[in-house]
């Protein structure tokens, strides 16, 4: 155990040393790459599943299985297949983040009332208008619940990738400190990641609440 004062002093040393900032940027790039990729894949795919019923019924159970699978267990495979580059780490973050988005979007799609689509259809709505005016607004709040979960998971994925694949970023900072028995350094890094976690969680809740306004 280390007193807070010592932790803060160590934190200041890390920040003023400049090393900390580069690590933070490294981690941010990794986080954003994986997370944005998860959104870009998860949201359209979820919506597609929402529209094509047969596809949805077919894929749903597998998405549920992958959602419940601890993705960390796949890291050793990714390591031995893809090595120590940047791409495998992005893949880890992506895998952590994509299933909550997909799972919740499909969940939302499942609850679209058939009448809504029938009404749109009977007004001869085009496919594009149906997506834009009915499907997207209806599933978006659910998707955003997934996005909130994905933010938390992506953060875990980011640290896991930095621990178990090539060591970079904030993960490396913690590992390095821990290997040198620099408990104050470990505390300082955990404090920073904790604050980032809290901040991102808040952001996620804000986003979710913003879109939840027209839910129900």
């Amino acid at each position: 155990m280390v007193p807070l004062s010592e932790t803060l002093v160590r934190l200041w040393q890390l920040v003023s040393g400049g090393q900390f900032i580069t690590q933070l940027i490294d981690s941010t790039i990794l986080f954003l790459s994986g997370f944005v990729l998860a959104l870009v894949v998860g949201m359209p795919l979820g919506l597609l599943l929402a529209r094509v019923r047969v596809l949805r019924i077919g894929i749903e159970p597998y998405i549920m299985i992958l959602y419940a699978t601890p993705m960390v267990a796949l890291i050793p495979f990714i390591l031995s297949l893809m090595g120590f580059g940047f791409a495998p780490k992005v893949l880890v973050v992506f895998l952590f983040a994509v299933f909550p988005v997909l799972y919740n979007t499909v969940e939302g799609a499942r609850s679209i009332k058939p009448e809504l689509i029938e009404v749109a259809k009977s007004y001869r709505s085009s496919e594009w208008a149906l997506w834009r005016e009915v499907m997207l607004p209806y599933t978006l709040p659910y998707t955003m619940t997934g996005v909130r979960q994905a933010i938390g998971r992506a953060l875990v994925g980011m640290v896991a990738a930095e621990f178990f694949l090539s060591s970079t970023g904030l993960g490396q900072l913690i590992m390095g400190a821990s290997q040198n028995f620099d408990t104050a350094g470990v505390f300082a890094s955990i404090l920073v990641i904790g604050l980032i976690g809290v901040g991102l969680m808040r952001l996620g809740l804000k986003i979710e609440q913003h879109f939840a306004r027209w839910r129900n």
């Binding site: 047969v54 596809l55 019924i57 077919g58 894929i59 749903e60 159970p61 597998y62 549920m64 299985i65 992958l66 419940a68 699978t69 601890p70 960390v72 267990a73 796949l74 890291i75 050793p76 495979f77 390591l79 031995s80 297949l81 499942r110 609850s111 009332k113 619940t145 938390g152 953060l155 875990v156 980011m158 640290v159 896991a160 621990f163 178990f164 993960g171 913690i174 590992m175 400190a177 821990s178 028995f181 408990t183 470990v186 505390f187 890094s189 955990i190 990641i193 904790g194 976690g197 809290v198 991102l200 969680m201 939840a212 839910r215 129900n216």
Partner: protein, 276 residues
């Protein structure tokens, strides 16, 4: 929910006539089977065409299953991990419920620790590993500590939510019958927040499993996670993948168990109301 009620009515209908059953077979099971088959086939083809021979593919994984299940090392690893998860989860459950109940019913207690609970919940559990390994050494204790840390906060948060939302009338009745503090807490608040507790356990179990695997990766202590790590490092991907399948089965199994328990014992409670 609409679909599950629909499914329920379908099963009722199926009991009456064979028509609905064959309908369900055609609209639900066939697409699912077919999709599963397509996924496995695509996986097999891609691996055969592009990946080295040691990479896991469906046919070789299936062939590895009997061998792995009969392997005492695998059984021991599974047993160790499950025992650790059960132990950690039990500890997290007991203390999490107590703290959660207190938090939900005592505004002062809540104001005092709310930010810390939410803060710790938001910390990616994996970052505490280096710290725990310094504190508890490279042993099973670190794994238990990680599991507890991973699991306890989602239980606290959910139980506190549940305890806060006990209907006011219940509390008034309890008070007018001069029920003591403890008996109100145990006899009314706890049963009333049961659905929330179950939701918390569902989350916690998933996190606990991840915590156990991550801890085993990190400190190389024997267990299912280490089994996966060790085998994939020595290019026994098929054996390692059986471990992943088992983990997935635990994750899904627990999810289904809690959903079933909620429906069975608390049919008036609908999960989608809570998650919103």
């Amino acid at each position: 929910m609409t679909e599950s009620t629909m499914n329920a009515s379908l099963t009722v209908g199926a009991a009456r006539s064979g028509v609905a059953l064959s309908d369900r077979l055609r609209t639900t099971f066939m697409p699912r089977l077919l999709t599963g088959f397509v996924i496995l086939l695509a996986w097999e083809i891609v691996v055969r065409a592009f990946a080295p021979a040691y990479v896991a593919k469906p046919t070789t994984v299936i062939m590895a299953i009997p061998r792995v299940i009969a392997d005492p090392a695998f059984l021991r690893a599974t047993g160790t991990t499950l025992a650790a998860v059960a132990e950690g989860l039990a500890i997290a459950l007991i203390f999490g419920t107590i703290i959660g109940l207190l938090m939900g019913r005592s505004p002062m207690f809540e104001r005092g620790i709310r930010h810390y609970v939410n803060g710790f919940y938001a910390v990616p559990m994996i970052v505490v590993l280096p710290l725990f390994s310094l504190w508890f050494g490279y042993s099973g204790a670190t794994r238990i500590a990680t599991i507890i840390f991973a699991a306890i906060f989602s239980i606290i948060i959910n139980v506190a939510d549940g305890a806060r939302s006990v209907p006011r009338e219940y509390m008034e009745v309890a008070r007018s019958f001069r029920s003591g503090r403890l008996s109100t807490l145990v006899g009314i608040v706890l049963p009333s927040s049961m659905p929330y507790l179950l939701a918390g356990i569902r989350l916690a179990a998933g996190r606990a499993l991840i915590g156990a695997v991550v801890a085993e990766f990190f400190i190389s202590v024997g267990g299912l996670g280490y089994y996966i790590l060790y085998n994939s490092r020595s290019y026994h991907h098929n054996e390692a993948f059986v471990g992943v399948l088992l983990l997935a089965a635990f994750g899904v199994g627990f999810e289904l168990l809690v959903t079933w328990a909620t429906r069975r014992f608390m049919p008036w409670y609908r999960r989608d109301e809570k998650t919103s």
